[in-house]
Amino acid sequence: MSSATSNQLDFSTAAINQSLSKERKIELYTQMVRIRRFEQAALKYYNAGKMGGFLHLYIGQESVAVATISLGGENDHFITAYRDHGHALAVGMGMNECMAELFGKQTGCSKGKGGSMHYFAPDKNYWGGHGIVGGQTPLGLGLAYGVKFQEKEGCCLCYLGDGAVNQGAFHESLNLASLFNIPVIYVIENNGYSMGTSQKRSSAYTGCLAQRAEAYGMEWDVINGSDVYEVRAKTHIAMERAKKESKPTLLEIDTYRYYGHSVADANAKKYRTPEEIENYKQNHDPIILFRRKLIAEGVFTEEDADQINKAAADEAAASVKFAEESPAPTIADISTDVYWETDNQTEASKIGRHFFND
């Protein structure tokens, strides 16, 4: 049976990282920074009352989405839970449509219908954004099933939290994935907490959460999420397994969220010590660490990095402006996007009453 890959000290030497051009490396850095700046802007305007509902920030976890998604090709698909802004930007969605979605505007990626938890971009192989904990895990399986059915060499990366592993649907998905040899990779983004509950208080396990894969005869691995190179190197192995052998993998990426569960989480500093949070920010921040590495590698200078930061902040500010100026959905908009057939005014849509409004 599988076990964690040996702990290589420097993952930058892995072939998949060696093959990265300077430009690609800068791009990875830029994407992480863009996610952070985007969310900092979102937080500011959330607190200013510009958007409603939940806002689950990804800040601290940026390396996971960016590094894993950087490995994706034409037939690789992505799906995650409600903490979905990072993945969205990493697959190439624009800040404008993402910010406008938070503001509940017509120009939002989901036309203001989905909100923070429900970003989608099927044209970029990004299938959401899902609010029910664990509910996306069978969907991820299905996307990978579809890739295989269509006889394409591809896979699906399906992300979930450390709390989501205790949902029944996830277990059913693991069994199906292994039994049917589905090219799905489940990525547990282990930030140590499900809301205010630590991993130890929510899960029983041997060794680590990913090791649960053994129950299904499935390969697994554990990854240090603060190292972009490590995430890429180890995820690449899983993706190759999916594509070449059509076999699933369960990955666990250790990471951390700096803010509360959502912005509404008033307890964020009660169930975690300030020292714990500070330690992560100082010593494990994926952006700081990658920046340091790229400077050491001579990929860019401090000034280049600062410039990237500034550009990202400007882009975020512009997206806020775009969102603010965009029109809100109308009452009539409430009733579209319910049925494909009625949206497309097909023959079928004209027969029988589809909507039951008083």
């Binding site: 036309k111 969907l139 299905g142 099933y145 998905s173 996007d337 049925y339 027969i351 029988g352």
Partner: protein
């Protein structure tokens, strides 16, 4: 030309034709392939179409229904069997959130052309957990479509429409109808598809409207004959066939003609399709009603096992006749 087929055979023929028409159509569920289906609806299809098109699953309804939904977003067109529709309870989240809402929450970017089918009925002495009647339950979720054919021809015509539909369609069959027979058009005479949303007036009368779906239609037809023969009451029997979309025009047309209505519904008394149809009728044909709208529903308790009384718990021709006589 038409042939006499059983409801089961008609369904199977519909599935087979759709498997032939579109290579993206797949059948999936517990025991649908090698076992030929718990109720033999899919008999022979695995042998004919092979592993890729007809797929056996473990007992993981949330997992495999969700898998079908995910695959459908990519263009696969899964037709998933629930061995009993009652097992919706373990896959409910996938059925009412992922399938029903993914289009909406993505602002129309994703769609989900799946069919979930299987028997949804009481009357087979299998007790409370296996006898749920979920048509009304699922029809209450915008984003979903629901139909419930009563005859072999309707079963075939509607399953084909359901598979071609680009929205999730929950297709409710009936164990007690699988063996019933009826005329079904010959495939040689052309593609036989019945659109969703079209009710069927299965009997014409002028004195009262009996409105039903699924097996209750058969009961209503039998009751109508008794009413005619023994009481001189001539009933319209309207088969809704499709619950959502709903053929409101046909409902109102019948009621405006007869001015009296009995709704027959296998649901329990609180809610169900019939409560909704009742509300629609009184709202839209208020001045046409000469008597309160009455219903015949399943006696309001979990489904009893004992075959000595289970038929009494369910709507049946005797109870329909009594109800009609109470207002006619």
């Amino acid at each position: 030309m038409s042939r006499t087929l059983s409801y089961r055979e008609a369904l199977r023929e519909g599935l087979d034709e759709e498997l032939a028409r579109d290579p993206n159509v797949i059948l999936m569920g517990e025991e649908v392939a090698q076992y030929n289906g718990a109720y033999k609806v899919t008999e022979g299809l695995w042998k004919k179409w092979g592993d890729k098109r007809v797929v056996d699953t473990p007992i993981s309804e949330a997992g495999f229904i969700g898998m079908g939904i995910g695959a459908s977003m990519l263009g696969v067109r899964p037709v998933m069997e629930l061995m009993f529709w009652s097992f919706h309870s373990v896959a409910f989240d996938q059925l009412v959130n992922n399938a029903a809402c993914v289009r909406y929450m993505s602002g129309g970017l994703c769609h989900c052309p799946i069919v979930v089918r299987g028997p949804a009925n009481g009357g087979t002495n299998v007790g409370a957990t296996h006898s749920h009647i979920p048509e009304g339950l699922f029809a209450s979720f915008p984003g979903l479509k629901v139909c419930a054919p009563a005859t072999p021809a309707d079963a075939k015509g509607l399953i084909k429409a359901a598979i071609r539909d680009n929205d999730p369609v929950y297709f409710m069959e009936n164990t007690l109808l699988y063996g019933t027979t009826g005329e079904v058009p010959d495939p040689a005479d052309g593609d036989f598809v019945i659109p969703l949303g079209l009710a069927d007036l299965k009997r014409e009368g002028s004195d009262i409207s009996l409105i039903a779906h699924g097996r209750s239609v058969i009961h209503a037809l039998e009751a109508a004959e008794t009413l005619k023969a023994e009481h001189g009451i001539d009933a319209d029997v309207l088969d809704l066939r499709s619950i959502r979309p709903l053929d409101q025009d046909a409902i109102l047309k019948s009621v405006m003609k007869t001015n009296r209505v009995v709704l027959i519904d296998e649901s329990k008394g609180f809610g169900g399709v019939s409560a909704m149809v009742s509300h629609i009728i009184q709202e839209n044909a208020f001045d046409y009603l000469d008597a309160p709208i009455k219903r015949v529903t399943t006696i309001d308790a979990p489904a009893i096992y004992s075959k000595h009384v289970e038929n009494e718990q369910l709507p049946n021709p005797k109870r329909i006749v009594e109800k009609v006589l109470s207002i006619a």
